[in-house]
């Protein structure tokens, strides 16, 4: 059964519902968000990191296919570029909407601080988008050689994803973040979730096409390797802090493993992102549907990776007594996203889904957008 149409319609409904969250954000900024001054980054920032990871990972897969002429990725390499753009745009919309004075960015960027990791994002993201769009345009003609551009794009994508991890890793005030392994974890998570999204999308859009199945199976092996690698990185990071036995440093780990939201770690990350997909890939790796299902689990539960980095790092008071010294909901160390924040995420997810479906229709299948409404499966 082709799932494209049902997903398309669900995404349209989700986009309409999510648009209300974006509208609320546009008129009231972060006033309706549950973030505060002690947990100043929440679902919006975690979701932005999640989408940029999906984008970087799928781009790196495609760019590698172009640079190294990987035959087993021949059918999905252009789809990977579409996915990279389709997830990158919602990611950047989310972070743009999250900042207090978004439209000031263009003027303030003239005072760019290249000593700040975040400052580098002002250079890397526009450069990435330019390369990505150029590659999508150039690859419309298969005779064009995009090797050099793809190689440059790989450097940029690796830089902004490692930078995404470094953004947290350089913060000495937060022992949970302040680790050299974090940028590598971001890159590994991006590759894992990005490749998984390409595999899942390739299956959903082309379930009966044999030539895609071979590409999907080869991605399955890469996904399994990356699950093992990311699992090792995650546990070495957690255990190296945990065994330090310095209470202030392990407080965030305690929250992740045993806190009120421990189910995000055990349920989504350990089971959803590691054990279930790894099991499927170990026992059913030759089945395209199993790779697609494992990829679906990885893609969906990868948000938990970013949530478990962003929020626990902030949810531990830096000084005892802060929360009771001056009481206000914006000065709290507990956080659960507001309706507006969830709706923003729904909007971004729906937008990414629609852009992927439409991008595939128009740029790969060479059909019109209206064909989505007319054709009967």
């Amino acid at each position: 059964m082709k799932l494209e149409k049902p997903i398309f319609w669900v995404a349209i409904i989700a986009l309409i519902i999510g648009a209300y969250g974006m509208f609320m954000k546009a008129i009231s900024g972060n006033l309706e968000a549950n973030i505060g001054s002690y947990i100043p980054w929440g679902l919006g920032v975690a979701a932005y990191a999640y989408f940029m990871g999906l984008s970087a990972g799928s781009f790196l897969l495609s760019a590698a296919a172009y640079v190294f002429e990987i035959k087993s990725l021949e059918k999905v390499k252009r789809l990977g570029l579409i996915i990279a753009l389709s997830t990158g745009i919602p990611g950047l919309i989310l972070v743009f909407a999250d900042i207090g004075h978004p439209f000031r960015v263009f003027i303030s960027a003239l005072h760019l601080n290249t000593g700040s990791v975040m400052g580098w994002m002002f250079i890397l993201y526009p450069l990435y988008l330019i390369i990505l769009i150029a590659m999508l345009w150039l690859t419309s003609d298969e005779s064009r050689n995009v090797k050099k551009l793809a190689a440059l794009g790989m450097i940029v994508a690796v830089a902004f994803e490692i930078g995404g991890g470094a953004l947290y890793g350089v913060v000495g005030a937060r022992p949970y973040w302040n680790a050299g392994i974090l940028p590598i974890m971001f890159l590994a998570a991006a590759l894992l979730s990005g490749i998984a999204l390409v595999a899942f999308t390739a299956y959903v859009l082309n379930p009966e096409k044999h030539e895609y199945a071979e590409n999907i199976r080869s991605m399955g092996s890469a996904i399994l390797l990356l699950i093992v690698f990311y699992g090792l990185l995650e546990f070495s990071d957690i255990l190296s802090i945990y065994y330090s036995k310095i209470p202030a440093d392990i407080a965030s780990i305690d929250l992740v493993l045993f806190g009120p939201f421990a189910w995000v770690f055990w349920g989504f990350f350990v089971f959803g992102s590691l054990l279930v997909p790894a099991g499927l890939l170990i026992f059913k790796r030759r089945e395209a549907w199993a790779v697609a299902l494992a990829s679906f689990f990885v893609v969906i539960s990868s948000l938990s990776v970013k949530l478990n980095i962003v929020i626990p790092g902030l949810a531990v008071p830096e000084l005892a007594g802060l929360e009771t010294a001056f009481v206000h909901s914006r000065l709290s160390f507990s956080y659960f996203p507001s309706t507006m924040e969830w709706l923003e995420f729904v909007f971004a997810l729906a937008l990414a889904t629609l852009l992927i479906i439409i991008g595939n229709r128009v740029l790969i299948e060479k059909k019109t957008i209206t064909s989505l409404f007319k054709e009967v499966d």
């Binding site: 968000a33 001054s37 960015v105 000593g115 913060v171 000495g172 000084l319 005892a320 009771t324 000065l331």
Partner: protein, 234 residues
């Protein structure tokens, strides 16, 4: 009769203001033994800077010590530490915050994009974000007293239409707008117990210069190497 601490500090302040800006180095010394936890400094700061709900520059942390019957309560006012090596300024992507020549860490509200990275990077949680809250938000009308301008950084900031400082990171600046016209910070003049000492560290005659050489002095998270310029007397 000895001179009141405030009068001495006013003399120190006047002397410092006669010097070029880059020859002053403002510091604060807080005598914890004298603090009774009345929170008047917090309120004075809120009032002086017209701080909205959820924004605080100088909370007073409270801690219970000991076990009955040997119990005590410690009060620790926590302004911005005005660190000599501030971790909050280098992370700003648009250079909207820096350390002034006189030692005060400042924010350019007009340039700040509100990314909140500086808030995350401060080891003392000394920065807060202005989300645009009002105390009278859910009443028939926002009261005018919540919209009158504050004068931080010697500029008039009217609170309306989401304009700065709404959406910005905000922090204690030792009442820089008062200092430059010869007035001590609001928290210093308000304190009922003369807990706060303020002045120029570069002036060997100032009270603060003498106090920071006291062996009772400690600083918060000194091991981080941020070199905080708020000193506590235990």
């Amino acid at each position: 009769m000895s001179e009141d601490i405030l009068v001495s500090m006013q003399g120190d302040l006047n002397r410092a203001l006669e010097k070029p800006v880059n020859e002053r180095h403002w510091v604060m010394v807080i005598d914890l033994k004298k603090c009774v936890g009345c929170h008047a400094c917090t309120i004075a700061c809120v009032s002086e800077n017209k701080l909205p709900p959820g924004v605080v520059y100088r909370p007073v942390l409270e801690e219970e010590l000991g076990k009955y019957p040997n119990v005590g309560r410690r009060f620790v006012p926590r302004p911005c530490m005005q660190c000599d090596n501030p971790p909050c300024t280098p992370v700003c992507p648009v250079n909207a915050t820096w350390k002034n020549a006189d030692g005060i860490v400042v924010v350019d509200y007009d340039r700040c994009i509100g990314c909140r990275y500086c808030i995350v990077a401060c080891p003392y949680s000394a920065r807060t974000s202005d989300f645009g809250e009002y105390y009278t938000k859910k009443t028939p009308a926002i009261q005018p007293y919540e919209q009158i301008a504050n004068f931080e950084y010697e500029k008039k900031w009217e609170r309306k239409d989401g304009k700065s400082p709404i959406g910005n990171a905000r922090k204690c600046h030792y009442c820089i707008h008062r200092l430059n016209v010869g007035m001590l910070p609001a928290c210093v003049t308000t304190c009922i117990a003369r807990v706060n000492y303020f002045g120029d560290k570069n002036d060997p005659e100032s009270m603060v210069s003498r106090l920071i050489a006291n062996p009772r002095v400690m600083r918060l998270k000194e091991e981080k190497g941020t070199n905080p310029q708020v000193f506590y007397l235990l």
